[in-house]
């Protein structure tokens, strides 16, 4: 089915090419665009909670989607233990994301100073993230933790990994409940939007700061400026508000 083959590949291509393009042409727009200067009390709780819970959620996806069921069983993790662990850890992450994102959405939409800095791409990314997060929370809390449970590792995961082998198993995802399908579709859309939004700041987490010398020196090395018109920001509308 086109929906489960073409969309993922298109999203992947846009994701990769878009990042290369943005990295080459819009270093200046590549920032987290923090609004802590404008508002700090809500951000203090919302931002760390959202980000750390999101890290946990990403880790959970790696565990559940990328790693085949056979592997975890091969190293001696029985199905019951996996379900138990993913249920509890997933629920904690989901609650964290829910509360954190709640804080952030509240301040972004109701604090005028913060709203003034928000661009259309931000809203698009926010809405897509909202769909993904709410569905993810529903699937984690509503289906896995409180509901009957569903072993996505026999359907969604197989389809996802088959995308990288070239031999896409469309049947696997078609068998999944519709909410998983919507969740996956929204995820591909946000991957396509990612390079054009402020989400790129995720790749700039400055881990190497831990090993760097404190004070950075640079020489005033004169470089030939680029020809006028051959460089610069091509997407002034994206990433910064003017």
């Amino acid at each position: 089915m086109w929906w489960w083959v073409v969309l993922p590949y298109v999203a992947m291509v846009i994701f990769i090419v878009g990042h290369i393009w943005r990295w080459r042409y819009d270093q200046f727009g590549w920032t987290s665009r923090s609004t802590q200067l404008q508002e700090r009390r809500l951000l203090k709780w919302g931002a760390p909670l959202f980000h750390y819970a999101t890290f946990a959620a990403i880790g959970g996806h790696v565990l559940g989607i990328l790693i085949p069921k056979a592997w975890t069983e091969a190293i001696g993790i029985p199905e019951g233990v996996y379900t138990e662990f993913s249920g509890i850890a997933g629920s904690l992450a989901a609650i964290g994301v829910l509360i954190g994102a709640g804080f952030l959405v509240f301040r972004r939409t109701t604090i005028p100073r913060v709203r003034a800095t928000t661009s259309m791409v931000d809203y698009l990314a926010l809405i897509l993230l909202g769909i993904i997060v709410i569905l993810g929370i529903y699937l984690t809390l509503g289906v896995q933790a409180l509901g009957g449970g569903y072993d996505y590792r026999n359907s969604v995961s197989i389809w996802f990994r088959s995308l990288f082998t070239g031999n896409v198993d469309v049947g696997a995802i078609n068998a999944a409940p519709v909410m998983y399908q919507v969740h996956a579709t929204a995820a591909w859309v946000i991957f396509a939007v990612w390079p054009f939004s402020r989400l790129v700041h995720a790749w700039s987490y400055p881990l190497w700061y831990l090993w760097r010398p404190y004070v950075v020196y640079r020489s005033r090395r004169p470089v030939a400026p680029n020809e006028p018109g051959t460089t610069g920001r091509r997407w002034r509308k994206i990433g910064s508000g003017y």
């Binding site: 270093q27 200046f28 727009g29 590549w30 920032t31 987290s32 665009r33 923090s34 609004t35 802590q36 200067l37 404008q38 508002e39 700090r40 951000l43 203090k44 931002a47 760390p48 959202f50 980000h51 750390y52 005028p112 100073r113 709203r115 003034a116 800095t117 700041h201 700039s204 987490y205 400055p206 881990l207 190497w208 700061y209 831990l210 760097r212 404190y214 004070v215 950075v216 020196y217 640079r218 020489s219 005033r220 004169p222 470089v223 030939a224 400026p225 006028p228 460089t231 610069g232 920001r233 910064s240 508000g241 003017y242």
Partner: protein, 546 residues
């Protein structure tokens, strides 16, 4: 020994009249863009006063600068690197815009559009951030000239432990102005705080800059700087700071704040320093020794050994010559009248200040002493513990001795000069009491009081021989600041006085490019950049140039 050159500044606070011309010209040149409404790379504070942003000097609260850990090693006051990375989603030490002052503008359109009537329309203040109506609560200069100091003055962090001695009563108050720019420190804590590695100190001239393409907006530089002289552009999401007007410095011109200073109180020149000694000096255990430790980093440009070594390390002859004539070296090291601002932050700041004698002299006169008599001035300088201790909290980490020594020297210059003017024999013994002699005091008098342009600013041009022909060709076309979104915004390079000639346009003619089509559909003439004499098509409505 690694010899490096540093462009540094000295400000003579006795001459500052608090006119804010430096602030205004700096604002016009660097920060008149959206996102930087609240930002002043240069600002002038009234002291005592709480400063901009509020109480920025209280490092127990803001955690800027360096401190020594239990083992005496240098560490950022805000904690370890890991702690910063973990708090990257919420920086606990970042001032908010209310600490700087919510920027406002006025709804001028309301005045323009007001119907005819008897009541005068008024322009209400609106927030520059949101465009909504707002009431002004605070700004960068809210306590200018001690305004409201009965409320704010006592919260000046430099008044710690002095509260019971200081009077904010009108009759007994003292005050002076403190112009501030980025300190371009030898051990910059903003650079050390930047997790992206976007901030750097230039090897050649020591100017501290932010690479706008590498900055990712993690904003630790803002909180890491104890002087709060790195700012967050809320429109671009990037940090910006005082550049020491590097395009002007590179071409041998003083910074715009210096160039336009009405009181001519700023001095620009080179220090030669030993980069290997910087960290040891910054880690000096006793804060009272930090001032001397900072002096020990500087190298004597007249020392032949230093000259030989500097030349061997690639410092060019004209820079060495400029270092020998440097007014900042004269003031800070040779005459020892300039002091660093808050050496206890351990950043080794490179903008130094000559403490003001005037508040002291004023009190001397008010107390009925004869300030013509240096002995009585000395006695009063010693007796006036309050201003001296206050100045010591600003400039010497609380050690009053160096401040007292500087003020005595400044008083002695006045006394010797006055004697000369009145035809008396200058008192050699008086000069000796401040460890000086009459010749040296005369040199200092010329540097401080006569202060010719070429004596105040000794700035060697940057060496661009290796820039290549291509770059030179381009520089004729446009300025290096013209990068997209850069502060140059397509403007033109720095202009010296000699570039201006009456009746000619420095920026070409005011031709057709200076008109634009407004919201009303009519062509308008853009007065910004108009040379004052060229044609002004479409300036007035109904005007239809042939």
């Amino acid at each position: 020994m690694r010899i490096r050159a540093q462009v540094a500044m000295v400000m003579n606070l006795d001459k500052c009249i608090g006119c804010h011309t430096c602030t205004v010209t700096c604002k016009q040149v660097w920060t008149n863009r959206p996102g930087l409404e609240y930002v002043y790379f240069n600002n002038v504070e009234t002291k005592p006063g709480i400063g901009y942003p509020k109480r920025y000097e209280d490092q127990e609260h803001w955690k800027g600068g360096w401190t020594l850990d239990g083992k005496g090693r240098l560490q950022l006051k805000s904690g370890s690197r890991l702690k910063r990375l973990l708090s990257i989603f919420y920086n606990p030490n970042l001032p908010t815009i209310d600490d700087y002052g919510d920027p406002w503008t006025y709804n001028y359109q309301h005045v323009i559009d007001a119907p005819l009537g008897t009541a005068n329309p008024s322009a209400h203040s609106i927030s520059a951030l949101t465009g909504r109506d707002m009431d002004m609560q605070w700004g960068s200069n809210w306590d200018d000239d001690l305004a409201g100091s009965t409320r704010y003055g006592m919260t000046d962090p430099n008044l710690a432990n002095l509260q019971e001695k200081v009077r904010m009563d009108f009759e007994q108050v003292f005050m002076f102005y403190l112009p501030r720019i980025c300190e371009h420190c030898l051990n910059p804590s903003c650079v050390a705080s930047c997790p992206s590695g976007a901030m750097y100190k230039r090897v050649e001239d020591g100017i501290v800059l932010v690479d706008q393409d590498r900055c990712r907006g993690w904003r630790f530089c803002v909180s890491g700087c104890p002087y709060k002289k790195v700012y967050f552009n809320h429109r671009t999401g990037k940090a910006e700071k005082c550049t020491l007007c590097y395009p002007r410095i590179e071409s041998g011109q003083p910074t715009i704040c210096s160039e336009t200073c009405v009181g001519r109180l700023r001095y620009l020149g080179l220090f030669l320093y030993d980069a290997d000694r910087v960290l040891d000096a910054a880690a000096t255990p006793d804060p009272h020794d930090l001032y001397e430790a900072q002096l020990s980093v500087f190298l004597d440009p007249d020392d032949p050994e230093v000259q030989r070594e500097a030349a061997a390390q690639g410092i060019s002859a004209d820079w060495l010559d400029a270092a020998r004539r440097s007014p900042v070296y004269q003031l800070a090291v040779r005459h020892r009248v300039a002091l660093p601002l808050h050496p206890e932050y351990r950043t080794l700041p490179m903008v130094w200040y000559i403490p003001p004698l005037s508040p002291v002299a004023d009190v001397v006169s008010a107390a009925g002493y004869d300030d013509l008599d240096p002995d009585s001035v000395f006695a009063t300088i010693d007796a006036l513990r309050i201003p001296i201790e206050y100045l010591a909290n600003l400039f010497t980490a609380g050690d009053p001795e160096p401040v007292r020594r500087v003020l005595r020297k400044l008083a002695t210059i006045r006394s010797v000069q006055r004697a000369g003017q009145l035809g008396f024999e200058p008192n050699e013994k008086l000069a000796a009491t401040v460890d000086s002699d009459l010749d040296e005091l005369d040199d200092l008098y010329r540097l401080l009081a006569i202060a010719k342009y070429e004596d105040r600013y000794v700035i060697p041009k940057a060496h661009a021989e290796d820039a290549g022909r291509l770059a030179l060709q381009h520089e004729q076309l446009f300025c290096s600041l013209d990068g997209e979104g850069g502060p140059g915004m397509g403007g033109h390079g720095p202009w010296g006085v000699e570039d201006f000639h009456a009746g000619t346009a420095p920026h070409g003619d005011s031709g057709s490019t200076q008109t634009f089509r407004g919201d009303d559909g009519r062509e308008h003439f853009n007065l910004f950049g108009w040379n004052g004499s060229g044609p002004t098509p479409h300036l007035f409505p109904g005007e239809d140039p042939a």
